[in-house]
């Protein structure tokens, strides 16, 4: 293993991470909810008539606006897709099915769950990171 010093962005990633953490903390303090995107998006698809649809949609609209705000401040947000076509479709389906069955994703389990010291979330996070690494190892980086 070699460290990719060229693409390594510790400060930007740490600042971005702190902002993600602040968002999760605010959602808990103001709305009493875990900030899990698979949970929020999944609920919008499964129970669109819920009384929670309002704040969920508002959150998604904000989520869409966030990157535009950064792009307006500091130029285009880098986004290079490695997968496309059928592979990207399969990836999306697996992410959706997996997070629905496993009740959470990187935000819900990875940030909120770990910081609540939930053994369930810690296990989930280790599992999806490990399987992500194995997958990239197999299909090539």
């Amino acid at each position: 293993m070699t460290i990719d010093w060229v693409n390594f962005t510790p400060i930007a990633s740490l600042i971005g991470g702190v902002m993600v953490g602040c968002a999760a903390l605010l959602l808990m303090a103001l709305h009493g909810r875990i900030m899990g995107v698979s949970g929020i998006a999944g609920a919008l698809v499964r129970t669109p008539k819920s009384k929670d649809t309002g704040w969920r949609l508002a959150f998604i609209i904000g989520l869409l606006a966030g990157p535009l705000f950064i792009a307006a401040l500091s130029g285009p947000v880098e986004s290079i897709f490695v997968a496309d076509g059928m592979l990207l479709a399969i990836a999306g389906l697996l992410v959706g099915v997996g997070t629905a069955i496993g009740s959470g994703c990187t935000s819900g389990h990875g940030i909120c769950g770990i910081s609540r010291l939930s053994l369930r979330s810690i296990t989930a996070t280790c599992t999806f990171v490990a399987f992500g690494m194995i997958t990239v190892f197999i299909v090539g980086g």
Partner: protein, 136 residues
């Protein structure tokens, strides 16, 4: 209205944080997962930054009797490490590795790279809908 505006503002901070952190770039996410070759550890810093805030903040916030705009805190009740969480997380991990996208960054990318990410998001939403019906 305040409730909705605050949720949108929270989403905005989250989306902006994802953009700054590099998580909207599938190539960078795969660089983090590519631990055996040339490894970009940046995304570990996203996790550390996020967890640091909530690890300190959650206990303080949860001492209050209730959240500001809702009647009560809604925390996950399940604590068991069961088959669904292991199988689900494994499937998610494979999809994450293949596409370099998890749900938050995928949805956020609709605003910056719509044509590239649309198919992924549509399939993800179908998966979220269908996955909830699967009993393991």
């Amino acid at each position: 209205m305040t409730r909705l505006l605050s949720a949108a503002f929270i989403g905005l901070i989250f989306g902006a944080g994802l953009a700054i952190s590099g998580m909207l770039n599938p190539e960078k996410v795969q660089g983090f997962l590519d631990i055996t070759r040339i490894w970009d550890p940046s995304l570990a810093f996203v996790m550390v930054g996020g967890i640091a805030v909530t690890l300190i903040g959650f206990p303080i916030v949860l001492k209050r009797p209730n959240p500001i705009f809702a009647e009560m805190f809604q925390l996950p009740k399940l604590t068991k490490i069961d088959r669904p969480i292991l199988i689900g997380a494994a499937l998610f991990g494979v999809g994450w590795g293949l596409g370099g996208l998890c749900p938050g960054p995928a949805i956020a990318s609709l605003s910056t790279n719509f044509s590239a990410v649309l198919l992924f998001v549509v399939m993800m939403l179908i998966g979220l809908w269908a996955g909830a019906k699967i009993k393991l």
